[in-house]
Every structure is written in C-alpha cells, then in structure tokens.
C-alpha cells in the first residue's frame, strides 16, 4: 500500500507569494495514497530536511514528493536526505513549483491550480517508482593517451605522477608534436625544444608510462572503466633493442629525396630516418613507402653498415590489445592548406610560406641553421610580409572561427625576423590583434615599439611574383584609407588552425562527437570543457579547439585530474537510470542495438544446461547505458523499459493530467 508524503516549500517568497502552498498541501492530502502533507518556508534547509526524515520514519512513508524548486537544483539534496532516513533515494520525486510555476505566472488562483496538478502528477508517478541501486562497475586503473604532443605529454606525466599507469600512443616516430618544431614560444621567447625535451625524456623514462610511438589506435570496444583497445604498432624495420642511434644508417641511405614532414617540406630526409635529433625515442624507423629495399627489393645499405645488426627488413605490424579505464584524446592540430586562396598564389609561389615553415627557417636546428633565408633562392629576405587570418574568420572557405594563436605567433615571427635581420622590414597585415593572455598585450607592444614591426590594418587582395623575383603584395591600409603595395621578398601566411588529419576517425572509434569544423565536442562548453558525451573519454589540447601551449597544458592537467578522480575508487558508481530488456518477449529484431548511441546493448544468447541455444535476445550493458530511452521507444515488441521512466510511470503521469 502506498504511503506517500508530500512536502511543499514556500522557498521564502519565491513560491509562497504566488502559490498558496497550504492549499496545495491540503489538496494533496486528499489524494489516494497520500498520508502526510505539509508546507514549510525552506524545505532544503536543515530543519526542512529534518521534517522529511522524521516523517519518513514516523509515518513509514513508501514515497516522497517535494513540491519546490526545479529538480535540477535540489533533487540530489532531497534524495540524500531520504537515503539518510532509510528510504531509497529513487523513491523521491520533485514537482517543479518554482521555475515552472510561481516564477512564470502571476495569477495566484491559476498558479495554485497548476501547482496542485503538478503535485498530483508526481504523486501518481512516485507510487510506481521502484527502489534503484547505483550500478557498480569495476575500473581498470590504466589510462590511454592518444597523441604525443605537449598536451598528451602533460596528461601522461600528470596521471603517471598520480601513481597510475599510462599508455601513450603517438602516430609519428617521435613524441613532441608541433612544439618540437617551433623555434621560440610566445610570450617569453623561450627556446621551444629546451623547455619541451626534458618532458619528453621524463615520459620515456617514467616507470608508469608505456610509450608506443609509430603506432595508432585501430579498434575500441567496451565502456568507461573497461575499454578494450587494439593498437597497431607499425613495423619500423629497426630492432630498437639493438639500435644505439649512432646514425650510420641514415648517413648511407640512398633514398635522400623525401620531403621532411618535420621540416615542413623545406628540406629532404632519407627513407631510414629519425625525425629530429632530439627525437624520443631516439631511434630511426624505415619509411616503407619510400625505402628502396622494401619497395623494390634492392639496396640494404643500412643493414650492411649497421654495426649492431639492428636492421630487420622482415619486420611486421603488431596488433597490441590493451585494457584501459579512461582515455585522453590529444590529437592536436595542423595548418589549413592555403592553396584554396588563388589570390595568394594557390600554394605555388615558393616564397609564400606558412607559420611552421617560418618556424623551421628561424630554428637553429632547421634547414637553414637559423639564418633567415627564403626557400626559392636561399637569399636573405629584406622585406617580409605577414598576413593574419588566412582562412580563419572567412566563411567563404568554410571557417568562420578565429584560430586564436595567429596574432601572437605573427607578432613573434615579426620579432624573430627583426632580431635576425636588423635592417629588414617586417610588415603585418591584420584585421584585429587578439592578445588576450597573460603578458600577451605587452608582447605585441614590444614587437611594435622595441623591434619595429609595422602593423597595417587591412586585408591583402593579391600576391604575385614579378619578373625580377619580387613578390608584389597588394593590400589596403584602412586606417589611412588608401591601398598599399609592398615589394616583398617573402610572405608568411597565418593559416587557419584545423584538427589533425584522421581526427574524425579517432573520434568515431571512441564515440566522441565533433563539430562541423572537425573539433571534438566537449560535454558542456562552459562547465565541462574536458569531458565528452562518452563517459571516460576526455579531451586535451587543440583537438578540442584552437589553443596555445599554456591552455593546452592546463587542459591536459585537468584531464589528468578527471582521470585520477575516476581511478580513485576501485569501482565506478553510476546512476541507475538504465534500460532493461524483458528477455521473455524480446524477439531480437536488434532495433535497439542499432539505435543505441553508446553501443550499450549487446546480443545475448540464452542457452540451456546442455549448451543448446534457446534464443538470442538483446541485453543492456549496465555500465554503458546512459539512460536516454531511445531503445524503449523504438522496440516493436514492447520488451524494453527504462528504470525511472517506465512506460507505466509516464502513462500514469499523462492520465493524471486529464
């Protein structure tokens, strides 16, 4: 027999002024099954909660309805109070008498009538509530970090220093990401590799971190706390247990004309190669697409010259299966291809370069040894034009967003150029200058005032090569109100920041959403910037949105905090609002399995004692089900229901309304 208690809150004046709470309590008491109905000024306060707890004990209540603010506000508060009084917390429901009633109506009679209706509906629903118990799922306290740039490195180090094991997977042969390619970083002009490489070494030597480079995630199954991930370790054809990194092999390799990805194609590398001297792991791999032995069966120069016998042309890809409890995606970004801008030479003008190419020219470890030389003829450019917002903030090419880092790195590039070419001219064409971080505005002022970088507000309409080799840049100076033509030796375009190629595939593997620009979707843009809709999968760095190094590092540490929080308990407790299949009536049409966005429903074979198959049905994985109910609505045989929002409960709510 139902024994329901109803508690009306005045919420000070917020409800009490518009809704006659005493009248609602009186009306509630008349409802069948209601044995207790009171009103009070502040139900969520300590005395208010005490009233509920006392009533539960004294009147032996089987269910409670609190008519007060929105359940999004205080449902956890009241459910905890019920639990403390010994009543299963899921036997308590709230009627929203504030946000949905007293605050949006000013007719007292109408509002009170509506409040009575709302309470009545919840009383009927709660009579059908069953006690639910949190679902406990075991957790494997190992994290997987996908991506070995600064964000992935930071996340891995923080989790490892927190005492938990980490597997760091990186697609290229070395970790370090884009930060390893930069010459100096804003706003301090720190040498990028100098601050990065100690962390890279720490990752390689940390006892809690397993580093897998030249590897990619191939398949993912499972759910938070229990992901089964298959990683493909690409064949490197070099036995790293024997290799000492001496360099004899790449010195002898005849395949020398492969454009170096690390050096932004400004110079070439060999087929057996180490991406850069400070690579971690500091061992070479063989690029099988370009190796003469692997493609044509001839050569083998490296094997002949290797004193340790470390070359192995028979190497094969390895598939490694790992079990992890949480995943951090840190796949990073790349620069948009400006060939789409015919006005800027469609990518065919050799001295029109992008930001990374400029970084490699400026870098002491780059193809020019840090000297300012332009790609076409190796001469020192005396006039360099920098163009901001190339592709960004341009709906015409489909990128409406601002890439965030370009104003800062353009100022930096201007400064680096002036530091190396004192009598050169650095001219920046800008729409706005966005220098929002700490020390950023001062940095830009320094570029202008101390280093003489010239800023012109306006866009560039055309760049073309004149017969004498000069690049003619035609733009506008909107502050002076006139067109401007510059004879430049080199042009640097601040291309838009876009997600890494292959990012979408990784997102799909992990069930993470992404927006029209390909950036991964966070669970809530304001309050949950590192979580995703997929429980146990977190985002760090530029894969989520364009950002600079300090923000990427902060976000990575935030992910680590979330992961360590997840791992802090041996079991994961989840809200028990999940779907449940009636295996007697299920006909295995699999509509629910296909509809479930989380892949939470599995095929389940029911066998007799001898092992013969009786039938196959759908079964909900409690750890993975998020409780949306899409499966319930799609089931044709009415064989699946949602705990907490059963068909019976919803129909009773609807019936009560009439």
């Amino acid at each position: 027999m139902a024994r329901i208690g109803v508690f009306l809150c005045h919420c000070g004046e917020n409800i009490g002024r518009t809704v006659d709470c005493a009248a609602v309590a009186a009306a509630a008491l008349k409802l069948p099954g209601v044995v207790h109905a009171v009103d009070y000024k502040y139900m969520c306060s300590d005395p208010g909660q005490q009233m509920i707890k006392q009533a539960i004990a004294e009147k032996k209540l089987t269910g409670v309805v609190v008519g007060a603010c929105s359940p999004r506000m205080h449902e956890p508060t009241f459910r905890r109070a019920a639990a403390e009084a010994g009543l299963n917390p899921y036997l308590l429901e709230m009627a929203n008498l504030r946000e949905h009633c007293s605050w949006v109506h000013d007719d007292r009679a109408a509002a009170t009538a509506k409040a009575i209706d709302l309470v009545r509906v919840m009383v009927e629903k709660v009579k059908l509530n069953r006690g639910l118990y949190p679902i406990r799922v075991p957790i494997e306290p190992t994290a997987l970090v996908v991506g070995g740039g600064i964000a992935g490195i930071q996340a891995a180090l923080d989790i490892a220093n927190g005492g938990k094991k980490v597997i760091l997977v990186e697609r290229s042969p070395s970790i370090g990401g884009h930060m390893a390619r930069l010459s100096e970083t804003f706003p301090t002009l720190d040498c990028s590799q100098c601050i990065l490489t100690p962390r890279m070494v720490e990752v390689a030597s940390h006892p809690n971190i397993t580093l897998m480079t030249y590897a990619e995630v191939e398949a993912v199954e499972g759910f938070v706390g229990n992901f089964d991930v298959t990683i493909r370790r690409k064949a490197r054809y070099v036995d790293w247990s024997k290799c000492t990194g001496c360099g004899d092999c790449w010195g002898k390799c005849p395949a020398k004309k492969i454009p170096s990805e690390f050096d932004a194609k400004l110079c070439n590398r060999t087929a057996i190669y180490r991406p850069f001297p400070q690579a971690v792991p500091n061992k070479p791999v063989i690029d099988r697409e370009n190796c003469i032995m692997l493609t044509k069966g001839k050569c083998g120069a490296c094997a002949k010259v290797c004193q340790r016998g470390a070359i192995n042309f028979k190497d094969e890809d390895q598939l490694v299966k790992v079990k992890v409890g949480a995943v951090v995606l840190a796949t990073g970004f790349e620069l948009w291809d400006h060939s789409a801008y015919g006005e800027y030479g469609a990518g065919k003008l050799g001295d029109v370069i992008d930001g990374f190419q400029f970084e490699r020219i400026a870098s002491a470890s780059g193809p020019t040894g840090g000297e300012m030389r332009r790609p076409s003829d190796g001469t020192e450019p005396k006039t360099v034009v920098f163009i901001q917002c190339c592709g960004s903030r341009d709906e015409k090419v489909g990128k409406a967003y601002c890439s965030k880092i370009c104003c800062m790195y353009t100022a930096k590039h201007g400064m680096l150029y002036k530091h190396k070419v004192h009598d050169g001219r650095a001219i920046v064409f800008y729409m706005d200058v966005r220098a929002t971080g700490k020390g950023y505005e001062e940095f830009v002022r320094r570029a202008v005032e101390a280093d003489g970088v010239e800023y012109v507000r306006g866009r560039v309409s055309r760049i073309y090569r004149r017969s004498d080799g000069k690049l003619i840049v035609r733009g506008a100076d909107t502050l002076a109100g006139r067109p401007v033509t510059i004879e430049a030796d080199m042009v640097v375009l601040a291309d838009a920041v876009i997600p890494r190629s292959g990012a979408e595939k990784v997102a799909q593997l992990f069930g993470v959403g992404y927006d029209t620009d390909g950036f991964y979707s966070e669970a809530h843009p304001k309050l949950r910037p590192v979580e995703t809709a997929a429980a146990g999968v977190f985002l760090a760095g530029a894969c989520q949105a364009p950002k600079d190094i300090p923000d990427a590092v902060a976000q990575a540490s935030a992910c680590a905090a979330k992961v360590l929080g997840l791992f802090s308990k041996p079991e994961l407790e989840r809200e028990p609002i999940i779907a449940r299949v009636n295996e007697n009536t299920c006909v295995h049409c699999r509509a629910c399995i296909q509809a479930c966005p989380y892949g939470a429903i599995e095929d389940h074979e029911i066998r007799d004692r001898k092992g013969h198959l009786i039938k196959t049905v759908a079964r909900v994985n409690e750890g993975l089900c998020q409780g949306c109910g899409t499966c319930v609505a799609i089931c044709r045989s009415n064989s699946i229901d949602l705990d907490g929002f059963t068909d019976e409960q919803v129909f009773s709510e609807i019936s009560t309304l009439e």
Partner: protein, 156 residues
C-alpha cells in the same frame, strides 16, 4: 523587455482554457524552461510538462494517450539537432514524428494540435515565447473532444 502574458482572460474569451501537455527532454528544453523561470518570464499557465531523459524516449502512444485524455494540444520539444545529450535521441524523435504526423490525421486528430520544437538549455526566452504562441494558437482552435474528435470547431 515587456513581459506580455496571454492569460485566462484571452482564453476565457475563447470559452475554455486549453490544456497543453508538453513532453520535453531533461537536458535542453526542461533546462530552457527552468531558465525562463529564473528569468521571470511570464507565460500562460496552461502547459503541463512531462519530463523525460530524451525526446528519443517518447513513444507515439504517449501523444495519443494525452489526446485521448482530453489534451487540446501536445508539444514535443528537445535538443537542437546535433546537440542531443545522448548524441542521437533527437534524430530518432524527428524521424518518428515526420511519419507519425501523417498517421494522426487518420485517427481524426488534427495534426496542427501537435507542435514540435527544439529549445536549448540557453533559450529561456524561446521557451516562453513558444508557450505563449502555442497557447494562443490552441485557444483559437477550439477544445479537443476525444469522444468525437471529428466534431470540433474549425480553426479560425
């Protein structure tokens, strides 16, 4: 900003007070309705909200049951396409309704009594305007008689 309110006065002129049942999702529209409340936006008291985790949970039978019980209009509202908290529930809802709308006429229920919308958690204003709009339209259309759905006052 003027908070207009079409109240029982307007509906009284129509001769009845429409009963509107709204099936909303917890994460977007319910939160948007909360925001309308927090922002103290006024709207007519004719709507009764049934909270569900997701619009994907809504069975067409819920809507029929609401009409059978005498609701004059039913509103279904959830997250914008692409924003579903559960990734795709609202897509299922959208597909379901595009077919269900045509079935409604077969049952004798004017499909114009069924309203769909997407209201996000940040759209308190939109929710309030939606309720005012739906209430006004339904007040003008006349009461729904479940016993004889075909016999109803024509839309003005």
């Amino acid at each position: 900003m003027a908070h207009t309110e079409t109240k029982t006065t307007e509906t009284a002129a129509a001769g009845y007070s429409p009963r509107i049942v709204a099936f909303v999702c917890n994460w977007c529209t319910y939160a948007g309705a909360d925001l309308a409340g927090t922002s103290r936006m006024l709207y007519p008291p004719n709507v009764r909200i049934v909270k569900l985790p997701c619009t994907g949970r809504i069975d067409p039978l819920f809507i029929l049951k609401a009409f059978e019980g005498g609701a004059d209009a039913v509103l279904v509202s959830g997250c914008h396409p692409g924003d579903c908290h559960y990734t795709s529930g609202n897509y299922h809802a959208r597909r379901r309704w595009s077919i269900f709308r045509r079935l409604l006429d077969l049952t004798g229920i004017d499909e114009r009594r069924l309203f769909f919308s997407w209201v996000s958690a940040a759209e308190g204003t939109k929710f309030a305007e939606l309720i005012r709009d739906v209430t006004a339209k339904v007040a003008a259309s006349g009461a729904f008689d479940p016993a004889n759905p075909a016999r109803r006052r024509p839309w003005k």
